[in-house]
C-alpha cells in the first residue's frame, strides 16, 4: 500500500532521517517506536509531504503510494491525496484545530470539500463519526478550547477518518491521555481503523503492543530493528530495543525503569547507536550496519544483535558419585541478568564455581562464541565472580587498597600509581569513599554493606563483561540489599555488565532478572523470560517457590 524507500530528510545541516525503508501492507497496522528526537514525527510528516513547508528541509528518496511516487508529485496532486487517501492525526492538537470553528464544522469541512457531499449529508456523516470516536454530543458544537485533551484527540481522529482514507497515520495518538481515556481511545482506534493501513508513530510501547501488527524501531534516523510486534516485544534482539523496553514501566515486565547509558547524540559515521552500545567493536564506529533479515526479523547490527555472551552446554559435576550439577545448559546474553533460582543444595554455587573453573567439571563452555578450555587469564578478565560470603573472600591481611588492587597486581596492569588510581576510581563507582583512611582499613573494620561493595569493586577492577553474583545480598538487611542490587543494575546499565544472579529468593530475582532459570537437584527445571515464568510457571517446584515467596499480606 505504502512503500518508503531510502528516505532521507534533513533540516539545514541536521540530518533527521538517514535512509529509512518501510512498507505498510494493506490492512496492516505498523508501529514506529523510538525516543523523542529520533525522527518519528518527521517520518510521519514526510509521508504527508508536510515537511516541505519548512524551507530549510530537504527530502530525498521515494515514497510510493499505490505504485505512485509521492515525491515526484506536485503540490496540486499531493493535495488530492492528502486527507483523502492519506490522513494524519497530529501530535500537536492545539495547532491542528482551528480555534474559531466548532468541532462539527471542522470535521464537516473536509467532507464537503473533497467528497462533494451536500451540507446535510456532510453534517450527518460528521456527527456519526464524532459519536463513533466517542465524543459526547454536547462537545460536537463546542469550540476547541472548551474541550479536554481527550476530547480534542477524538475530534482529530474523526477529522482524519472523515474522507475514508486508505492510509491513516497516527502521531502519538494517545500519549497525552490518562490511562483510562487511553485504553478507551485505543479500543476506538482499533475498531475504527479496521481495514485501513495504519502507521502508528509513538514512544509509548504499550500502545504499540495493543495496536500494531509489526513494529519498527527507529534510532538516529535509521531503523534498527523490525519484527512482528509480539516477537519484538518478548524477545528484542537489538541492544537499543532492549534498552527501550527496559526503561518502560509496565505491568508485564518486573525489571523496568532501567535504561541505557548516555543520551542520543548525532553520529557522523558508523552505527547510530554505538556511543550508547555496550558491545561495540571497531566496525561499529566505522560503518553503518544495514538492515538485514535474520530469522523472522530485520536487524541492523554488526554483531547480529545482543550477543549470547556465555553459553554453558551439558555441564555436569560429580562429587564422588553424587551428581551436584546435572547436564545444565544455559545462555547468558550480553548485558542481561539471568536469575538462577533454587533452594540451597540445588547446585547453584557448584554450577557457578564450575563455570569459573574452581571445580573440575564435564561439559562445554563458550565465551563470546569461543570454546573455553582451561580457564586462563583472558577468561578471568572477562568473567568475574562475587562469592557467597564476601567477608571470607577477603584476606584478613589485606587492607581495602591491597584487596581491590590484587587483580591488577596479578595481571601486572599499569604502574603502581595507575593501579592505585584505578582502585580509587572503582571504589567511587561502587559508591565507597576512596580516601587514605578508608583505603587503609582492614576487612574487620568494615560493615557488611561496605564489605560487599569492596568485593564488588574488586571484581569490577578488571572491567569484566560478566559477573557471577552468588547470593550477593543474602546476609544483608533489606535496605542495604536494595542499595547493592540497585548498584549492580546501574553498573549493568553503564557497562553492559552481564549478570548471573544466583539467589534463593524468587522475589528478588523477579526484580533484577530479564530471564529466570529455576534449578532443582542439579537440574534446570524451568527457563524463560521472567514475566512469563512468574505468570505461568510450568513446573510444580516453580509454582511452590512462588507460593512461598515473601509477601506483605
Amino acid at each position: 500500500m505504502l512503500k518508503i524507500k531510502d528516505l532521507r530528510v534533513s533540516y539545514g545541516k541536521l540530518k533527521v532521517l538517514k535512509g529509512v525503508n518501510l512498507e505498510i501492507k494493506e490492512g496492516e497496522c505498523l508501529g514506529v517506536i523510538g525516543e523523542s528526537g529520533t525522527g518519528k514525527t518527521t517520518l510521519a510528516l514526510s509521508i504527508m509531504r508536510l515537511v516541505d513547508e519548512d524551507s530549510s528541509a530537504s527530502l530525498e528518496g521515494e515514497i510510493f503510494f499505490q505504485e505512485k511516487n509521492l515525491m515526484e508529485m506536485d503540490e496540486e496532486m499531493i493535495r488530492k491525496i492528502r486527507w483523502n487517501s492519506i490522513s494524519i492525526v497530529f501530535q500537536n492538537k492545539e495547532d491542528a484545530l482551528n480555534p474559531v470553528h466548532t468541532i462539527l464544522d471542522q470535521v464537516k469541512e473536509p467532507i464537503m470539500e473533497n467528497g462533494g457531499e451536500s451540507k446535510k449529508e456532510a453534517t450527518e456523516k460528521a456527527i456519526h463519526l464524532l459519536s463513533q470516536v466517542g465524543l459526547a454530543s454536547r462537545c460536537i458544537k463546542a469550540y476547541p478550547h472548551q474541550l479536554s485533551e481527550g476530547e480534542k484527540q477524538r475530534s482529530l481522529l474523526a477529522m482524519a477518518l472523515a474522507n475514508d482514507p486508505e492510509v491513516l497515520i497516527l502521531d502519538e495518538p494517545v500519549s497525552s491521555l490518562d490511562t483510562t481515556s487511553k485504553a478507551d481511545m485505543i479500543t476506538k482506534i482499533k475498531r475504527l481503523s479496521r481495514g485501513y493501513s495504519v502507521l502508528v508513530v509513538t514512544h509509548d510501547i504499550s500502545t504499540v503492543a495493543k495496536l500494531t501488527d509489526r513494529v519498527a524501531v527507529l534510532y538516529g534516523g535509521r531503523i534498527v530493528e523490525l519484527a512482528s510486534t509480539p516477537l519484538l516485544l518478548s524477545n528484542p534482539r537489538h541492544p537499543y530495543t532492549r534498552g527501550l523496553l527496559r526503561s518502560y514501566p509496565n505491568m508485564t515486565t518486573t525489571k523496568d525503569l532501567q535504561g541505557m547509558k548516555g543520551r542520543m547524540q548525532p553520529v557522523e559515521k558508523g552505527c547510530p547507536f554505538y556511543p550508547r552500545c555496550t558491545q561495540v567493536v571497531d566496525v561499529c564506529k566505522r560503518k553503518n550496519p544495514e538492515l538485514q533479515k535474520i530469522g523472522e526479523r530485520f536487524l541492523a547490527c554488526h554483531r547480529g544483535g545482543i550477543l549470547p555472551f556465555l553459553k554453558v552446554k551439558n555441564l555436569t559435576k560429580y562429587f564422588d558419585s553424587f551428581r551436584a550439577v546435572d547436564s545444565v545448559c544455559l545462555t547468558l546474553y550480553e548485558g542481561e541478568t539471568l536469575g538462577l533460582v533454587g533452594e540451597s543444595g540445588a547446585g547453584k554455587t557448584t554450577l557457578a564455581k564450575s563455570i569459573m573453573g574452581l571445580f573440575h567439571s564435564e561439559g562445554e563452555i563458550y565465551l563470546e562464541g569461543e570454546k573455553v578450555g582451561e580457564r586462563d587469564k583472558k577468561f578471568y578478565k572477562t568473567v568475574q565472580m562475587i562469592f557467597q560470603n564476601p567477608r571470607e573472600s577477603l584476606s584478613h591481611r589485606l587492607n581495602v587498597l591491597e584487596a581491590v588492587r590484587e587483580p591488577l597486581d596479578i595481571y601486572k596492569i599499569g604502574s603502581f600509581r595507575q593501579r592505585s588510581q584505578k582502585v580509587e576510581q572503582t571504589l567511587t563507582e561502587v559508591e565507597l569513599p576512596s580516601d587514605e583512611e578508608f583505603l587503609d582499613r582492614y576487612p574487620h573494620h568494615l560493615s557488611g554493606g561496605e564489605i560487599q561493595r569492596v568485593v564488588i569493586a574488586r571484581a569490577l577492577v578488571l572491567d569484566p563483561k560478566l559477573l557471577i553474583a552468588d547470593e550477593p545480598t543474602s546476609f544483608l538487611d533489606a535496605s542495604i540489599q536494595a542499595k547493592i542490587v540497585r548498584l549492580l543494575l546501574n553498573l549493568q546499565e553503564k557497562r553492559g555488565l552481564g549478570l548471573l544472579f544466583i539467589t534463593h529468593d524468587i522475589a528478588l530475582a523477579r526484580k533484577v532478572s530479564d530471564r529466570l532459570v529455576v534449578m532443582l537437584k542439579g537440574k534446570i527445571v524451568e527457563e524463560g523470560p521472567t514475566p512469563q515464568i512468574l505468570s505461568s510457571p510450568s513446573h510444580p517446584y516453580t509454582r511452590n517457590l512462588l507460593r512461598v515467596a515473601p509477601t506483605l499480606t
Binding site: 578471568y380 573472600s393 591481611r397 590484587e406 596479578i410 595481571y411
Partner: protein, 279 residues
C-alpha cells in the same frame, strides 16, 4: 580477622618479659668476646672464688666460669635458632606440600609423619649422639630431623583449611598462578603458625642440647650449660656449686622461659578466645 602481632605482643605482659629477656640474651651473646676471656684456656688457678678478675671464679681446671657461662649461651641460642629454623622449614615443606599437592604424595607424607610420631625420639637421639658425638652443627641437624613431625601436622591441617578458604578461591578467580597463591597468600597466612612452630622447636632444642650435654654425649670441645652442670655436680661437696652449678642452671631455665613466654603469648594473640578481655 586481622591481628597486629607485634602490637599485641608488646601489650602482653608475658610477651614483654619474653621479648626483653630474649633481647638480653642476644646482646650478651653478641658482645661475648668483649666481656669474657677465652673460655677454653686452662690456668693454674683452680677453684678460685668469685673476684673482679674472675666474676664467677674458676673451675677444676682453672677456666673462667663467667666466660664459660656466656659462651654456653652462644651454644644454646645457636642450637635453638638453628633447630627452630630447620625443623620449621622441614615441617612446612612436608606439611604444606602434602596439603597442596595431595593424592599419593600426601598419603606417603602423612605415613612418614605418623612413623616419626611413634618413634621415641629422645631415646633415639641419645643413642645416635652417644655413637657419633655430634658437633654443634650436626646436633642441630639431628634434632631437627627427629623433631619436625609435630609442626608438619599442624602446618598441613592449616594449609588444608587455607586452601579451601574463599579468599584463595577469589584469588584463583582473578587468574592468579599457583606460585602467586603460594607466595602471596598461603605462606603469609601460615606465618603466625610458622613462628609458633619455630618457638616451640627452639625451646625443645635448648632443653635437648643441655640434656645431651649433661649426660656427656655431645662434642666435648663445645662449651655448654649442660656440660657445666655435669662437671659442677662432680664437686657438689665444695662451695663452688654456688657460682658454677647455680648460674648455669638458672641461665638454662631463663632461656627456656623466654621461649615459653613468647610461645604462650603468641598463642594467646592468635586465639582471641584466650584473651581475658577484648578491650
Amino acid at each position: 580477622m586481622h591481628i597486629k602481632y607485634w602490637e599485641e605482643l608488646k601489650k602482653d605482659t608475658f610477651g614483654k618479659i619474653g621479648l626483653v629477656l630474649f633481647l638480653f640474651f642476644i646482646v650478651i651473646v653478641l658482645i661475648a668476646p668483649f666481656i669474657t676471656r677465652d673460655p677454653q684456656v686452662q690456668t693454674a688457678l683452680v677453684f678460685e672464688a668469685p673476684s673482679l678478675e674472675h666474676l664467677l671464679g674458676t673451675n677444676d681446671v682453672g677456666q673462667d666460669i663467667w666466660s664459660r657461662l656466656v659462651w654456653g649461651a652462644r651454644t644454646s641460642l645457636l642450637v635453638a635458632i638453628g633447630v627452630g629454623m630447620l625443623s620449621t622449614f622441614l615441617g612446612a615443606l612436608i606439611g604444606a606440600s602434602a596439603a597442596l599437592i595431595g593424592g599419593w604424595y600426601e598419603e606417603i607424607a602423612m605415613r612418614i609423619i605418623d612413623a616419626f610420631l611413634v618413634i621415641p625420639t629422645v631415646i633415639l637421639l641419645i643413642l645416635v649422639a652417644a655413637f657419633i658425638r655430634p658437633s654443634i652443627w650436626l646436633l642441630i641437624v639431628l634434632i631437627s630431623f627427629l623433631r619436625w613431625q609435630g609442626g608438619a601436622r599442624i602446618i598441613r591441617s592449616q594449609t588444608l583449611s587455607l586452601k579451601e578458604s574463599v579468599h584463595i578461591s577469589a584469588a584463583k578467580s582473578f587468574g592468579a598462578s599457583r606460585f602467586y597463591i603460594l607466595f602471596r597468600h598461603i605462606i603469609p597466612d601460615l606465618a603466625p603458625i610458622l613462628v609458633v612452630s619455630f618457638i616451640y622447636s627452639a625451646r625443645m632444642a635448648v632443653f635437648m642440647e643441655a640434656g645431651l650435654a649433661f649426660i656427656g654425649i655431645t662434642d666435648p670441645s663445645v662449651v655448654s650449660w649442660g656440660k657445666m652442670m655435669h662437671h659442677a655436680l662432680n664437686f657438689y661437696y665444695l662451695d663452688i656449686w654456688k657460682w658454677w652449678l647455680l648460674p648455669a642452671g638458672m641461665a638454662l631455665s631463663a632461656l627456656i622461659l623466654v621461649f615459653a613466654f613468647l610461645g604462650y603469648s603468641l598463642e594467646k594473640i592468635m586465639d582471641p578466645r584466650l584473651r581475658k578481655s577484648n578491650a
